[in-house]
């Protein structure tokens, strides 16, 4: 059996936190702090529910810090030679109440919407208030360098479900044949004025891949 996990990466360079593997399972948490471990985040870094015009950059919205996830491959089962068709989805809806949207970053290419691991970039924003949206080109509040200058680089993540996968990487040129990382998925929560405070119940997001 191949040794594969889903990791969240944070920090100025690259720090890994295992969200799911054969040995462990953790519940991630969207918040306004650049960290992946929910026991460190606690309830100290909420996204502030904005009043009209007082959100990020005087809009009606505040944001979590964006999150970056990858498949990590550290071992191969006997006879396994490659991983391909890496894809991601939600269950089609979000149960975090009114005014809450999950955005996913895309690079604009139909079959390669993920983030090359070499393009990882630390999330930015104001702790305990708001993250900068990954698509932002506002000076001093810039978003993700890999995505922010791409037209239509964001989609509502719940449009991707098991009938309409978000293709992280696909095709012969993007197969994985050794230890390392898949391309990544960048997501971010948006909170509007009608959202309600509190720690919300977990939602499930799914990674799927083919191993050959």
């Amino acid at each position: 059996m191949a040794d594969i996990s889903v990791i969240e990466v944070y920090g100025s360079s690259w720090t890994e936190f295992i969200l799911s593997s054969q040995a462990s399972s953790n519940t991630g948490r969207y918040c306004t702090y650049d960290h992946a471990d929910p026991s460190v985040i606690g309830t100290n870094y909420p996204i502030r529910v904005p009043t009209a015009g007082n959100g990020w950059n005087n809009t009606d919205y505040n944001y979590s810090y964006w999150k970056t996830h990858f498949l990590k491959i550290t071992g191969w089962g006997a006879g396994d030679t490659e991983i391909k068709n890496v894809r991601w989805c939600t269950d089609g809806s979000l149960g975090w109440g009114t005014g809450v949207t999950l955005w996913i970053a895309k690079s604009g290419n139909t079959y390669n919407w993920g983030l090359p691991s070499s393009q990882y970039s630390q999330a930015t924003g104001i702790e305990k208030t708001t993250g900068n949206p990954f698509w932002s080109t506002v000076g001093g509040k810039e978003g993700h360098p890999y995505y922010r200058d791409v037209a239509n680089c964001s989609s509502n993540a719940t449009t991707y479900d098991s009938n309409n996968y978000f293709w992280v990487m696909s095709g012969a040129s993007n197969k994985i044949t050794g230890n390392g990382y898949s391309w990544g998925v960048v997501t971010q929560v948006q909170v509007g004025t009608d959202a309600t405070h509190g720690l919300k119940d977990p939602e499930t997001f799914t990674w799927v891949y083919d191993i050959i």
């Binding site: 799911s20 870094y45 309600t196 997001f205 799914t206 191993i211």
Partner: protein, 50 residues
């Protein structure tokens, strides 16, 4: 896979042998596909604090 010479007309035992070869070949292809490609799934939970 053994190469089968094209035969314009097959009758009786020849036809039966040809069909058996064809079935055997298809079985091999099907079992190989199932064995070699396996779909794997990771489900991960996320909450949000606001």
């Amino acid at each position: 896979m053994r190469y089968i010479e094209p035969t314009p007309i097959l009758e009786g035992e020849d036809a039966l042998r040809f069909i058996k070869e064809l079935v055997k070949t298809n079985e091999k292809i099907t079992s190989k596909t199932i064995e070699e490609v396996r779909e794997k799934v990771f489900s991960i939970k996320f909450s949000v604090i606001m």
